[in-house]
């Protein structure tokens, strides 16, 4: 297999796994959002690099060029970038609300406070640690 010829895919895979790892391994909610962002960004690169046509010019109408790179994936990824920005914004906004409500952004501390809430009568509904998602 031509390893260098697939360089873009290696970059994508590396970025994607890094982002994925941060999402899973990090206990800090802001870091999780950043990891998620990295994860999405790797897919943007996948799309952008797939638009390349060998020997193609940038897709601008000019005299003397017949072969253009495919602009469609670039347009698609503009939409995906917008979606990614919205997701990041919402994730960070939620992180701020969580910080206000729990006084922490660390997953284990939040989890501890949730399980404490079990004995707290002001919190009306039940077990958060129950079930198989505990």
């Amino acid at each position: 297999m031509d390893i260098l010829g697939h360089l873009n895919y290696w970059v994508v895979v590396f970025l994607m796994m890094t982002g994925f790892y941060v999402v899973i391994a990090s206990g800090n909610l802001v870091k999780k959002v950043v990891g998620l962002n990295l994860f999405q960004a790797s897919v943007f690169i996948l799309y952008i690099s797939m638009g390349v046509v060998t020997g193609g010019e940038p897709p601008i109408l000019r005299d003397g060029t017949d072969v253009y790179s495919n602009p469609l994936p670039h347009v698609l990824i503009l939409t995906a970038i917008v979606v990614g920005v919205a997701t990041t914004a919402l994730g960070l906004a939620l992180a701020i609300r969580i910080k206000e409500a729990y006084g922490s952004l660390e997953e284990d501390e939040i989890h501890l406070k949730e399980t404490e809430g079990l004995n707290d009568t002001s919190n009306h509904s039940g077990e958060s640690a129950g079930g198989i998602d505990g």
């Binding site: 998620l36 994860f39 799309y47 729990y102 509904s125």
Partner: protein, 491 residues
Amino acid sequence: MIDEQLSVLAVVAPLLAAPLCVLMPRARWSWLLALVASVACFAISVRLFVLVQSDGMIVTPLGGWAAPWGIEYRVDPVNSLVMLIVSGISSVCLLSARLSINKEIDSSRQPLFYTAWLLCLSGLIGMTVTGDAFNLFVFLEISSLSSYVLIAMGRDRRALTASFQYLVMGTIGATFIIIGVGFLYLATGSLNMADIAVRLPDTIATRTMESALAFLTVGMGLKIAMFPLHLWLPNAYAYAPSVVSAFIAATATKVALYALIRFLFTIFGYQFSFVEMPLSAILAVLAVAAVLVASTVAIFERDIKRMLAYSSVAQIGYMLLGIAIASQAGVTASIAHIFNHALMKGALFLALACVVYQIGSVMRDDLTGLSRRMPWTFGAFTIASLSLIGMPLTAGFTSKWLLVQAALAAGWWMIALLVLIGSLLAVVYIWRVIEIMIRPPAENAPRQEAPLSLLAPAWILALANIYFGIFTGINIGSAKAAAIWLLGGVS
């Protein structure tokens, strides 16, 4: 003329009403506008459903750009049914939303709540009508982002962490879906679903297509809450505002399931998904595991909203099992169960909205004597519960019966047995709740029936469970037509 544009109108009506909701000076007007937009969407869905039943598929190219260059909306027997249920449930839930939301959300934030609701509705409808794979991803994100907001508006602070967890898992799922769509585009050069399906056979046996199928199945699996990717679901349903639980539980996972059906059968085709790839075996194992594990967990759950959430995971197992059987009978059962489950879970969560409104708690121990304290709420809850268990003469029975028949016809008698065991587990967890509700209440417990505007929506859905259990023309009949449409020659 207008009939051809209806599918676009169904998406645009809630999308346009959404920003208007924010501008309304009073929360009550936002509610009214949201209700009007949702009912309009439902009316359009009914009209489209009737048109599709009589004339077949309706194709609308957006902006006059013919496919595969432009995006087109396709309404066929499969998605017209899903559209009907999504817009119908949204309208019924909005009916009870005003009182329930008044109690659970500050009036200053209510207009934003209805905006998010309408965005979610238009995203879900968009996902069902679109015939373009990338457009489906965009609508998926519209509906997901707004449902994270809806869930985060719950009273309990755990709603925030539940929403965050859903956001992380939902985004990973959605990203997997664009990777899958990207691979499809890479191999076929098209994003139009019908066009991809035509071009796919040339490249079908490549690693690219195999990984596209894997990414799309796992991505959709996250949105569907396919076991074991369901971890976001219990908390999200339990801590969301009551009507949001009803709306999301009845629609969001169903639309994602529809999208999976669309990818597996319309785009990849039966041959590739189920004969060349071992998807049948994988889905069947996961589905049965979902039924057994989630039902067992539900038995020990003290919070009834969480119990119903686990029950949803189990019910999704039944729908996936229908897909795994991949016969016409199996897919019929699956689509019929999408319809029926929306009715029963909608009714159950709306009955719980009455309970939350009057009692303020959904812990099992706080509901002692509910049958005397809130007899009408108890009635609606019981009817929907019977449907969930699968009693004859209720909607839940019809689709489970079809599923067992389909499993037996495919020679999967072991699976059929496990479906029955799953139903028995449902009897156990439902009975543990009903048993507490019919105990005599404490001496001083007042009779405190919920107001009519909360009871009526719950009863509408509860009666629908009985109606569709007896007259199965709409749910089973059109599910059968949809399965024939999807599977074509395969029997």
